[in-house]
Each structure stands twice: as C-alpha cells, then as structure tokens.
C-alpha cells in the first residue's frame, strides 16, 4: 500500500496586479532592474511572511536575474526569513551597550513569557519567534526590541509580560 501523496499547493505568484504595478514603479528608480531586488524581496516577505525558493525563482524571473543570485542575496541579509516564523517576530538587541544595561535578562524574560523557550524557535502556538540581533542603533534606550515593524525602546524584564499580552 502506498501512502497518499502529500497535496502540494501550486505556487501563487506575488507580483500580479497591484503588486506588479508597485514593483514596476520601484524598478524605474534604478538604472538596472536588479537594483529593485532588495525592495522586491521586502514585498515578498510582507505578502507571505517569508521567502521560499519558489518566491526567489519568481523574483529572479521578474528582475531578469538568476535564482542563484537571488538566493545569494536572501542568505546574506539577516532580516529576510528563509522559513516561516512566528506571527510576532521579536528581535532583541544584545550587543555591548545594551548588554551592559541588562539585555540578556530581557531575552530570558521574553523566551519564558512567549513560550518560545529557545532563541530562533517558534512557540507551540505559532505566535512567537524571538531572536538576538546585533546593534539596533538605539543604544541610548536600552533595551530596544523590534516586534515585527514596531520599534520599542527601554524594554526591561518587568515590562515584558505587558508587552507580550499586547501582541498576543
């Protein structure tokens, strides 16, 4: 007896209709099409939450480059997700200045409160992924964190439960 084949959803392209028109506008800003690669990848991530191999192939096609070029770029920049992440993606700065002011305690509190338990893992409810990042450029407001696109300053372990409640 053979197991039924897993149903694979066909890939739905990102750049159709309004998204394609928006990208065309961005492409016009650069003398070479590939200049629009970073913005195009941002658009994919906003639409899908992460950037799959199929999406990289689509971007390569639209910008007339190769999937290998696109993958090289996706893997170089840390903000592009190469796999699905929790609905709330939390980035905590733990570089020196924030470290001096207790950033590692903020990480511990976030991992415990969100249920994500370990860095880079997603909580069982799929809502949270917490990672450490290098310098967020807000060293005077320790500890800064990014929850998706929300930049939050002066986070202390005491503030963590309230923040987690807000995004849950």
């Amino acid at each position: 007896m053979t197991a039924p084949a897993a149903r694979v959803e066909p890939y739905q392209p990102v750049f159709v209709g309004a998204a394609k028109a928006k990208l065309d506008g961005i492409i016009a800003r650069y003398p070479a099409k590939q200049g629009a690669l970073l913005p195009a990848l941002w658009m994919v991530q906003e639409a899908r939450g992460w950037i799959s191999d199929e999406a990289m192939a689509e971007v390569a096609d639209v910008l007339e480059t190769t999937p290998a070029q696109v993958k090289g770029v996706v893997t170089f920049y840390t903000m592009y997700h190469q796999h699905p992440v929790g609905r709330n993606f939390v980035q905590v700065c733990t570089t020196s200045c924030c470290n001096l002011c207790g950033a590692e305690d903020v990480v511990k509190a976030l991992l415990a409160e969100t249920g994500a338990k370990e860095l880079g893992a997603t909580s069982p409810d799929g809502k949270w992924t917490v990672i450490e990042v290098e310098c967020l450029g807000a060293c005077g407001f320790p500890t800064p964190i990014l929850v998706n696109d929300d930049f939050i300053e002066n986070v202390t372990p005491e503030r963590v439960p309230e923040l987690v409640r807000k995004y849950r």
């Binding site: 070479a32 920049y77 570089t95 020196s96 470290n99 001096l100 060293c139 005077g140 930049f151």
Partner: protein
C-alpha cells in the same frame, strides 16, 4: 540633549535644535523654521561654488572616517559624461551610535535638504538614501517627508529615492552600500577604483553620512566662516557634532557640542555622570570600532578628531560607550568580537576566521579554560587582522581586543588564573 530632555546649557544646538518638536517633522513646519531656504540659495549657485563653501567650512565626514566633505566632492569628474550619483549612508549600526536615527526621526527635511544640496554640488541627478532595515520608524518618517517635499517640488531636477537595507552592518561600508543598492550581497569592493570614478551602477558616486549632510544647509545659509568659527581646540575640526552617549550612564542620549569640547563634561555634567556609588572605569569614545580609553584618558580627552587621537583613540562616529566599575571588560570585549564575527561578510580570510576565533578564544577565557598564552595569541591574531583586508571590519574587531588587553590585562588574567569565577560554559 534635545529629545526627550531639554538641551543642556553647554550644548551648541544646530542639528538637534528641533529634536522633540513634532511640527518640525512636517513640510510646512520645516519651511516655517526657515527650511529649504538653503536649498533655494544653493540651487541658484554654481555647483563648484557650493563645493567651495563647504570645503572652506572645514566640515569633515561624520560617519567615522572624518574625511573633508568639500574635498570629497571635488573628486567627482570635472567633465560630466554620464549620470552622477549621490548615496546617503543612513545604515547607522556602529554599536554605541544613534545620532542619524534621531536626525531622521525629528528633522527628516534637514537630511532631504542637505541631500539635494550635495547632489547639486556634485551634479548628480539621482540620490539614494540607504536606510538600515531595522529603522522602521525613521523609514516611515522619511517616506512621508519625501512625499511632501516632492509634492512641493522643492528639489528642482534632483530625484531622491529611499532604499531599505535588510540587516547587514557591513552595508555601512561605502562600497558594500553601493553593492546593496545594486541588489547584490553587501560585500565591500576593492579600491581602486574609487567611488568618484566608478561607484554605484559603475558611475561616478559620492557617499556621505546623514549627519554630514544635515550640517550642509546651515553652512550654506550662515556661511563657512560661521561654521569654521565653531571650534574650541584644533582648527582642523570645526562645527558641531552629535555624540550618542550610552552604557553605564545616568542620562543616556544625544548631546550636540562644538568640536573640541571636553569628554569629561559630556559624561559627568551633561549626561548626569555615573550611577550612585559607581565610578568610571573605561570609555569607548567613537563607536565600538575604536580603541578603549581608560578613566584617565577619558577625563583628559577633547572631543575633536585631533583631541581623541591624542587621548589614544578615534572620534569615529561619536558613539560614546561608558563602562563603570561594575563592567566586566572581558565579557564586553567578547560581545564586541561576537558582533564583528556575526557581521563579517566573510570575503577575506583574516576577517572571516579572525573574528570567529577571537570570539572563541575570549569565550574560552570566560569559561575558565583559558591559558596565559591565549592573550599573546589574541594579540598575534589581532595584528594579522589589521590592515590586511578589503575593508576595515577586521581591524575594527582587533582594535578593542588590542586596547582591552593592553589596558585591562589583569581582568583577563583573573579568569585564566581562577581568581575570578567563570561566567560562561565551555
């Protein structure tokens, strides 16, 4: 100090004058405060005259290298054969530095105005402002400001685009930044060719920092003589500079002072000094890539390019990281090395291997498994990481390690000899 505190009486507020003033963010509010007058004036001037004025002001690049701005502009081809580009470096990510972020958040039009003036001076039709991906708020503020300024048609024939980074410290290096705008991996390029010859998309390009460009409209409006007069010590360092103060300090934030201002006044007076019962141990005066200063060196340091060099470090980006007597220098230097290991683009062997091994050896020492010869090994490694790579990221990792071991050797030895308990697991 600007936002959120009121300016300190010892500050010279030029760039930070409207920090914390929400109306200044808007186009109308900016115009009401005299905004875009400098651009009008500059656009009516010959590009070479604009460059001359900036050259005469003594303005030097605020991103870290301190290269004279006007002089940099003169490197662009005299005879224009094709497009010229201006790239604005808003990829602020040097640990300890958060000044460009405040300029963009509070005075986005100051940056746009300075950008347009610089583009005119170098005869560029297009300017790209490269904003780091993590700066979501500055991105939103700049997007709105650019749309409003475009609607008011203030830029003449100059087009300004915003370009969002995606998480890479190295893209603050000018040639990596250009690769990133071209949609490539942010690997620094070998120079020559220099950007003024073959820069972004292979065309003549100038790259300037946010703070540098934000100062330009003031120079055009008030004249180079006024700017040059803002000088407390070395005549080679003029104007005001934003210093981002963070770490073990009572009132962290940005302060704007005239070049040559004493660092000790910034720390003890303007930023409220140490926490109760604590004393100053060390200070990194110019962002994490510059040598660490001891307490004594910090207290005699004057904040200009020459003054900081004389104290034994570099002015860099003006990110002042303060360490009090509770700081574990070994652990903090390991964290810095870890930062560089994470951010290395991995093109050059010395950097890719050197930053990783530096981190591993420091972690080993912190785990109580170090040997005294590890300190010589670290110094040897650091020496081989200095001056041998395409860009200076490798050197930047070596710098705090070398100065740290030189100035705080006993702290390293305490972990090695067992005098101090391990804080990491091997």
């Amino acid at each position: 100090m600007g936002y959120p505190q009121k300016p300190h009486p010892k500050e010279t507020v030029v760039l930070s004058r409207y920090f914390g003033d929400p109306e200044a963010k808007t186009y109308q509010g900016w115009v009401k405060r005299g905004g875009y007058e400098a651009l009008k004036k500059a656009l009516a001037m010959d590009p070479a005259a604009v460059t001359e004025e900036v050259k005469a002001s003594g303005l030097r690049g605020r991103g870290g290298a301190g290269f004279p701005t006007g002089l940099k502009w003169t490197f662009m081809p005299k005879e224009k054969k094709g497009p010229h580009y201006l790239c604005v470096n808003a990829d602020e990510s040097e640990p300890g530095t958060f000044k460009d972020r405040e300029i963009m958040r509070w005075t986005p039009h100051a940056l746009l105005e300075g950008t347009a003036i610089a583009a005119h001076a170098i005869r560029a039709e297009v300017a790209y402002i490269y904003i780091r991906g993590e700066f979501t708020e500055p991105w939103a503020v700049m997007t709105e400001a650019l749309a409003d300024a475009n609607a008011a048609r203030v830029f003449g024939n100059i087009t300004i685009h915003l370009h969002r980074g995606a998480g890479a410290y190295i893209c603050g290096e000018e040639t990596a930044l250009m690769n990133s705008i071209e949609g490539k991996r942010g690997n620094p390029r070998i120079k020559p060719p220099f950007p003024a010859v073959a820069g972004v998309f292979g065309k003549p390009t100038t790259i300037n920092n946010v703070e540098t460009l934000a100062a330009v409209p003031h120079i055009i409006t008030r004249g180079s003589a006024w700017y040059k007069g803002l000088c407390l010590s070395s005549p080679k360092s003029t104007g005001t500079k934003l210093f981002s103060v963070c770490g073990h300090i009572q009132k962290p934030g940005n302060v704007e002072v005239t070049m040559g201002f004493p660092l000790k006044d910034v720390i003890y007076d303007m930023c409220g000094g140490m926490r109760p019962g604590r004393t100053l141990k060390a200070c990194i005066p110019g962002g994490s890539s510059v040598p660490i200063l001891t307490k004594e060196e910090t207290e005699r340091c004057l904040l200009d390019y020459e003054g900081v060099a004389e104290a034994g470090s570099l002015l860099g980006s003006g990110g002042v990281i303060v360490f009090d007597d509770s700081a574990d220098m070994v652990y903090q230097i390991m964290r810095l090395a870890k930062f560089y290991a994470h951010e290395s683009c991995a093109q050059c062997t010395q950097c890719r291997e050197g930053t990783a091994w530096t981190t591993k050896i420091l972690e080993r020492i912190l785990a109580g498994k170090g040997q005294l010869k590890d300190l010589d090994l670290l110094l040897d490694l650091s020496e081989n990481m200095t001056g041998k790579t395409i860009c200076v990221l490798s050197d930047s990792c070596a710098t705090p390690v070398i100065s740290g071991i030189k100035k705080f050797r006993s702290e390293f030895e305490d972990y090695i000899t067992g005098k101090k308990r391990p804080v990491m697991v091997a």
